[in-house]
Symmetry: C2
Subunit: 480 residues, 2 copies
């Protein structure tokens, strides 16, 4: 497996991404099912760790998991005007089942606001039934034109939270709680990906939402990736699906609903934030294998000495570290080093006969490739050393990504500066334009407003496009 | 919530089942999506515990999780002759997507042997690539005519394992390992449901399999429920999908494949094995809430004394027990007792002012309803007492179900005896008939051969139907 299986980022960033997905055994394009992928073992193992960490946060904030049907009567998506426009063009339709044509087709859920809205209208009667705080882990399908593994696929896997509340204030509180306590916290702490928290403009918001909040991350090519969204749906879906309740004054009111989701797209974000020209780089908390041990020997005698040392060394790791001893006999150590490097294992331990004699091991850290990241360390205290190193790497990856984003973010005050800056990264600009202005800028620069950051400077400036005075700053960027 | 919301089993077992599903908040029929259900919070929480325990076993036996596409090109299911016959009549078809008619329809997977076979044929080249040991957790769809929550629904949720091996012996070993170490072990230890391990007859085997193994459980009405199946697919799918490899002698061979699955149907088995006329009964290992604490007070003063005692008492439970303190102010203790009884919480602790004074609590165990299961116990040592009780209940439920099955199983030596016995439970009989005989018996008695148990008496007898001498015993029963 030669190193040049991975295209260098500087040569072709897009091809580099596809090479990593393939060589790290993350996914494969399912060319017989248009726009779909097979998520392979290493990719799914990462997703399972992500699910676990997200699910813990979702439950800790008071939500329960449920499961709604995959299929939705086609008429349902027609009930909310913006929602139809957003999703109708890209649905897959089931028109025949059990050998017969269906009177009304079903669509495969592109998202579940409509079918869940239908049930919420049955379940909610009184203010005592509120709030409803549900989430589901599910596959969804959107018939996308251009697809790329994880980043945009017809079928993808996600969680979608759907809640109903008695007041607008409670719905807004929920929407922001998810943004901060679940999504931003997960993406920054577990994925080691720094994000900007913000509000979407009218043009970019979810079809049917009152307000969409998002977290935006910067990839290594300076482009933005929307890592999660949390929507205050207002009373739009409540009106469309008649979700009403009797309040404390015995008046019938429409409920206020929210929805929020993150998907397997986050795996794409993970790859494009940390990985390098040698392969995948994983933050330790999301590494299915955190430490790989490669024993090195030439004969049976060496083998038993080395394997005995390895067994001794790894005994205390059970339950503390996710590790693997790569004792395959039909592969060379060099082959193994390369394979685990491609797959992003954070720490590699090499143990040969000399290490046994000297009571040392060679330790290679994935975040610093090559000789610079390799050292010889004593076997004594190895467990604690590795644990500390994993912590250090987790923090280090976050800091590196944050420094990269800061180095590739600039305040721009003219439209020309903006055009130039979006070639390199994020452009922060004062903004007082409308949707039509945004569309023109997108046509001219391929950049969109990623968000109106929740943290604002509190100063006033001139809109980059209209020249009007405003206190609102936005982030422009090209996006995945 | 009056008690009579649950129909008694003796009156209408089928209605009793539906009442439990509804009143324990497990699922709801999604009447707008034919044959589908919404799995509600309590039902999904049980499924998550089942998934966790199964997934641990699947991984411990060397398998990795992956994810294949939901959609399968329609032509794929036509490739294996028996498989077409088994599944073609009940598939749901996607014929339109992204606003256009598709040249070839896709089906929503009813099971994934075909799409996985396609990929295995790409991935497997040499004996070095074998075995492939993969599993996926997924939703599948079969357009069933008569549906019942969990037991038979159009969409259901399951895991499906798919492996490929170099030899028949290895495939057989895998098939049986799953049957014993994963399925039977899980169902008996975690679900507390005793099972008979056996082989399916030709008539009952999976469409396309060489041999299907199963575990069969007995419900409280004496009917059988197939709780899991593990199939040795021989080389049938390998031939259909050209899954070949070069062996050590450089000869091209077809691989031997297996598949195996258990589904949300197991929730139906769980309900129908343990529950009673008061509601759901859950084995402690699969109870989302193992202990509920109901504080009882009449005024603020009593409330603070009681809640302080509850806080003290439950402090050591964190991380040891799954528990809930039901401190809702708008419901009476009686309402709460009833609700948690319906939901099958194994242990209820009641704490009132007198208990605080006497340093006791009232403890009610769900497996013994009413006064007989209630006792007053000291607060000292409560944690250990509850832990021991949960263990006792787990074992007790298994023993009770086993005793029930034994009491409702009989050896039969004449066809008349068989007809009579299948009204009450399992009929064990010598069998030397063929598929045509089995079909006639099914028409006449509505009973089928559930399995040829792996444990055989080792004696010889006369076939109940043909009168031929044989050493093979089978289990006849009516089945879900």
């Amino acid at each position: 497996m030669p190193k040049d299986v991975i295209t260098q980022r500087s040569v072709d960033y897009n091809q580099w991404y596809l090479d990593i997905v393939r060589e790290a055994d993350l996914a494969e394009v399912a060319e017989v099912v248009r726009g779909c992928i097979v998520v392979k073992a290493h990719g799914w193992a990462i997703w399972e760790l992500m699910q676990r960490a997200l699910d813990d946060r979702i439950k800790a904030t008071g939500h329960s998991n449920v499961q709604f049907p995959l299929l939705i009567p086609k008429s349902f998506i027609m009930k909310e005007a913006e929602h139809v426009e957003g999703f109708a063009p890209e649905v897959a339709e089931v028109t025949r089942a059990g050998g017969e044509e269906l009177a009304e087709p079903y669509i495969i859920r592109p998202t579940s606001e409509t079918i869940i809205g239908y049930f919420y209208s049955k379940w909610i009667r009184s203010y005592r039934d509120l709030p409803l705080l549900y989430n589901q882990w599910a596959n969804v399908m959107r018939w996308e034109m251009r697809t790329r593994p994880f980043l945009r696929t017809a079928e993808f896997w996600w969680q979608e939270g759907h809640t109903a509340h008695a007041t607008e204030a409670e719905a807004e509180e929920e929407t922001l709680r998810i943004l901060h306590e679940v999504y931003a916290d997960f993406v920054e702490r577990e994925m080691a990906v720094p994000v900007i928290r913000g509000l979407k403009t009218e043009k970019e918001k979810f079809p049917g939402a009152l307000r969409s909040y998002c977290i935006e991350a910067m990839m290594q090519d300076g482009r933005a990736l929307q890592a999660g969204t949390s929507h205050n749906l207002g009373q739009n879906f409540a009106r469309a699906f008649d979700i009403t309740f009797t309040d404390q004054n015995n008046t019938i009111q429409y409920a206020w609903t929210t929805s929020w989701g993150v998907s397997t797209r986050l795996i794409g974000a993970l790859i494009m934030t940390h990985s390098d020209d040698e392969g995948l780089v994983l933050p330790p908390r999301l590494a299915p294998i955190q430490v790989v041990v490669v024993p090195i020997y030439k004969n049976d005698e060496e083998r038993s000495a080395v394997m005995a040392a390895v067994a001794r060394m790894t005994a205390p790791w059970k339950g503390r570290l996710r590790f693997k001893v790569d004792d395959r006999d039909n592969y060379s150590p060099g082959y193994k080093f390369n394979e685990w490097e491609l797959k992003g294992v954070p720490v590699r331990i090499e143990v040969g006969p000399k290490d046994v004699a000297k009571e040392t091991v060679a330790l290679a850290r994935r975040d610093i490739p090559g000789k610079a990241g390799k050292s010889f360390v004593p076997q004594a205290g190895l467990t604690e050393r590795i644990e500390a190193l994993l912590e250090e790497m987790q923090t280090g990856l976050f800091q590196r990504a944050l420094a990269f984003r800061e180095a590739h973010t600039a305040d721009v005050t003219t439209y020309d500066e903006l055009k130039e800056q979006v070639e390199r990264g994020f452009a922060r600009a004062f903004w007082a334009g409308d949707t039509a202005d945004e569309k023109r800028i997108q046509e001219e620069t391929r950049a969109t407003i990623r968000c109106i950051p929740l943290e604002q400077p509190g100063t006033v400036g001139r809109c980059i496009y209209t020249g009007r005075e405003t206190d609102r700053q936005v982030i422009f960027a090209r996006a995945y």
